[in-house]
């Protein structure tokens, strides 16, 4: 530190900077308190707190750089192989005559007891599974869609084939099961003459219905590309061709969207004639 120009002046300037920085910090803290007390405002709160901490940061940084020595010290670093005598003594202490390590039989029984406890402790994990004791594969494979279940809009109103608009898709749900994760489907009107493969769920007056959930990772395939009659998943850009039985044509999805078999009931509303033609959403091991 000493012997560099005029140390006193340098030092005086530095300590003045440090003191000023701490002063600014105190002002920042007071500013934060004031902003909070007068109703709060997120940007000002953040700014004043940041000034308060930055003042301390600047002060301490200048203090460390200008007023404290940097480097120039050395500390010995003893190697990590213990002296042989220590090793021997430690081993003796661990395995001495009254050491529990020597009681093989007792240790084996203790091990058995702890192992049994550990095994038993796994059983309460079962409580994490659903309460209705439904097997996952069965739950994943089935949905509330069944023969005679009406297709309804998000607001619960039933849908006639004529209600399905041209040029866009209509999200539909099974009546009474609006918020379940595996039920969303969409109805879309297509020209049957353009079909290159028959829709798996059949068609009623040009209306076809498919599961809304991408067969890759289960996101809703919410983007409809009208001209090519394709739907696109916003998550990973899987694309399905609705004219070819919702076959995947791009992106990471490998299975077509399941179709929903439909018909119209006596009142003219669209109803399902069964569950989806395949389990909706992402794949799983039990899916054959």
């Amino acid at each position: 530190m000493t012997g560099r120009g005029t140390p006193d002046r340098r030092e005086r300037v530095s300590s003045a900077v440090v003191a000023a920085a701490f002063g600014v910090s105190a002002l920042g803290a007071a500013g934060f308190a004031a902003v909070y007390a007068t109703g709060g405002q997120t940007q000002l709160e953040g700014l004043t707190l940041a000034v308060a901490f930055a003042g301390i940061a600047v002060g301490l940084s200048v203090w460390a750089r200008r007023l404290l020595p940097t480097g120039g010290y050395v500390e010995e670093h003893e190697p990590f192989d213990s002296p042989p005598a220590d090793l021997r003594l430690a081993a003796e202490a661990l395995t001495g005559p009254e050491s529990p390590v020597r009681r093989r039989g007792l240790l084996a029984m203790l091990g058995l007891a702890l192992g049994a406890l550990a095994g038993a402790a796994l059983f309460p994990l079962r409580s994490l599974l659903p309460f209705d004791r439904q097997r996952p594969a069965r739950a994943l494979r089935t949905t509330p869609w069944a023969a005679g279940v009406r297709l309804v809009r998000a607001d619960g109103t039933p849908v006639r084939p004529a209600d399905v608009p041209d040029g866009t898709v209509l999200t539909v749900f099974p009546q009474g099961h609006r918020s379940r994760g595996d039920v969303p489907a969409f109805a879309v009107r297509l020209d049957p003459a353009r079909f290159t493969a028959p829709p798996p769920g059949g068609t009623v007056a040009g209306v076809v219905v498919y599961s809304l959930l991408c067969t890759h990772a289960g996101c809703p395939v919410a983007l409809y590309l009208q001209g090519t009659a394709r739907v696109l998943c916003p998550c990973h850009q899987s694309t399905f061709d609705l004219l070819a039985g919702a076959r995947p044509v791009a992106g990471p999805a490998a299975r077509p969207l399941p179709g929903l078999p439909i018909t119209v009931d006596v009142e003219g509303y669209l109803v399902a004639t069964g569950d989806f033609t395949a389990p909706p959403g992402a794949g799983f091991w039990s899916l054959r």
Partner: protein, 583 residues
């Protein structure tokens, strides 16, 4: 004066009860190496502190439940709408709790800083070979903390139950579900049923605020405890050996510097939290399994996984007639390989050497010393950079005005080509640098690179072995200074012995004083082997300094206190003046 007397009293009364002086003396004299790259770990630590502080605030207002509730509050667009309690309380926390939005955004930003600092710290440790024996345990702990940080970040931004994170959660559910044999059971165990379940938010909440932070805190303690025991590694340099640490002392230099860094982290976190909007869940809306949001990107530290899901081709296959769904390879296998590779790297590298490297290393490798390591590391980094870009392919498509599927094809080619080419370039540059000695990348000539590409011959001093230790940047002090290097010992007027290392380039003072000459000699011999040691006359140098420093510090504290007092008086008088009724 008063503070000195007070701290003296406090220290003495503590010592009477705990006998801390012998430990404290050594702890205060602990030497930290001076290099900027050693700060990343500290930044991660301080980000964790910010996360805990702001997180505690958030838990006081957040409701971890998906029960139906009606939001009523200051945010007009959602006022009166039915949402889950988790979502409603997040919006309330952002708009109706004073300073709530600041805390929430600071919490989110600190999480990004936390993972960023961990990754930079990991890269520093990787490229300098700091994970080698004896530091493998800390490498394993560090990788575990990275995994926990990623997981906790994910649960953290998923619990508000908004549309964006709900979609992300569904993707993670699908990826877990894709694991052969156990996937379906795993997701039902974790979520308590078919997605979405009411149990998911409370379970993630407990994991986010209790389980994972507790494990992280324990691992941080272990990480630091092992660091203290093993001491820091250091870059090679004059006076530095495998048996010493050269740098600044913990007290006072590093204490002040590290507190400054803590304050910087707090300042940056709160500045970002106040000024930069992050995760505006009120714009995304509440989660609905039938709705999607576009464009949809996760936080950056899990985006590589999302990018892998987007890039990987649609590959599904059947084993024994059972389905292995398409997210399995890019999601589970790739993620698993990434972390398995991280965990196993120190042991894989050790095995690959011709002579198994069983030595303890305190001196770091300059990155160029191991072209194979740097080539591999840069290649992997390039792959992850492409995956990060792939997670934003829909945004890239919008910016480049290209169909998103074209962008996808380009990125697929890049994901294969870029890692290989970047790795090869890094490998060759490192070889050229290693052969040419201590010059930077900018000074490399074409002939350097050409000679680096010549394999099999030892022409031009290029070493052929890919993994053998660097012949250039060696552990020993430079040959020229070695002759002049010596240890100087002296006895100070206070009766304590001190020593210093001196060569043509540096003078390094021993960090602590010793009560006897043999003690000092033993320490010097540990640090420098059998360098010649001789006694010299005591010099003013280092020993005179602390008093002057203390005086300076006292003056600064006094002045700061004075300004504070002045400001307080001014404020108080101002208030009084305002309160006083007008005459």
């Amino acid at each position: 004066m008063i503070t000195r007397w007070l701290s003296g009293r406090l220290a003495r009364s503590l010592d009477d009860r705990l006998r801390v002086a012998p430990v404290l003396r050594r702890a205060l004299a602990k030497v930290f190496p001076d290099h900027w790259s050693f700060m990343f770990g500290e930044i991660a630590l301080y980000s964790f502190v910010v996360l805990v502080l702001t997180g505690v605030f958030l838990t006081l207002f957040f409701e971890p439940s998906t029960a139906d509730t009606v939001y009523s509050g200051a945010y007009a667009p959602l006022d009166g709408s039915r949402t889950s309690a988790a979502y409603a309380s997040t919006v309330r926390l952002s708009f109706d709790v004073r300073a709530g939005l600041l805390m929430r955004q600071t919490h989110h930003w600190s999480a990004l800083l936390f993972v960023g600092a961990i990754v930079l710290h990991l890269l520093r440790v990787f490229f300098t070979g700091a994970y080698r024996r004896p530091r493998e345990i800390n490498w394993l702990i560090g990788v575990t903390m990275l995994a926990l940080a990623l997981f906790n970040g994910f649960t953290g931004y998923s619990i508000p139950d908004d549309l964006l994170s709900g979609t992300g959660l569904r993707i993670l559910y699908s990826v877990t579900q894709s694991i052969p044999l156990v996937g379906e059971w795993l997701v039902f165990l974790a979520a308590g049923g078919e997605f979405p379940t009411a149990e998911l938010v409370p379970r993630m909440f407990v994991s986010h605020v209790l389980l994972v932070p507790a494990v992280l805190a324990a691992l941080i303690a272990a990480h630091l405890g092992i660091l203290l025991r093993q001491k820091h590694s250091q870059f090679p340099g004059p006076g530095r050996t495998e048996n010493n640490v050269v740098g600044s002392r913990f007290w006072p230099s590093y204490t002040v510097r590290t507190l400054a860094l803590f304050a910087w982290v707090l300042a940056v976190a709160f500045a970002l939290g106040g000024l930069a909007q992050i995760n505006p869940v009120w714009i995304y809306g509440p989660f609905d399994p039938a709705q999607a949001i576009s464009p949809a990107q996760p936080d950056w530290y899990v985006a590589w996984g999302d990018g892998a899901l987007r890039l990987f081709p649609a590959v599904e296959f059947r084993v024994f007639g059972r389905l292995v769904p398409s997210p399995f390879l890019p999601g589970v296998v790739f993620g698993g390989l990434t972390f398995a590779g991280l965990y196993l790297w120190p042991f894989l590298e050790r095995r690959r050497r011709r002579r198994r490297d069983r030595l303890a290393h305190q001196l770091l490798d300059p990155p160029r010393a191991h072209p194979a390591r740097i080539g591999f590391g840069v290649g992997v980094l390039a792959l992850f950079a492409v995956l990060l870009a792939a997670a934003a392919d829909d945004i890239l498509a919008r910016i480049l005005r290209l169909p998103v599927l074209h962008v996808l094809s380009i990125l697929r080619v890049l994901a294969l080509a870029l890692p290989v080419s970047a790795g090869v370039v890094a490998y060759l540059v490192a070889r050229a640098l290693r052969a040419g000695g201590g010059r930077g990348i900018g000074e490399l000539t074409r002939s350097d690179v050409r000679s680096a590409m010549r394999f099999g011959s030892r022409a031009g001093g290029v070493s052929t072995g890919v993994g053998d230790p660097s012949p250039v940047a060696t552990a020993e002090p430079a040959a020229g200074s070695h002759d002049a290097a010596r240890i100087e010992l002296w006895r100070d007027p206070d009766g304590l012995w001190r020593w210093r290392y001196r060569d043509a380039v540096v003078v390094l003072a021993a960090s602590q004083a010793y009560r006897s000459r043999p003690e000092a000699e033993r320490a010097a011999a540990t640090a420098y082997g059998d360098l010649p040691a001789r006694e010299v006359a005591p010099s003013g140098g280092r020993t005179g300094e602390p008093a002057a420093m203390r005086e300076r510090a006292g003056r600064i504290a006094g002045r700061a206190g004075g300004y504070l007092a002045l400001a307080a008086v001014a404020l108080w008088r101002g208030r009084r003046a305002r309160r006083r009724p007008p005459p």
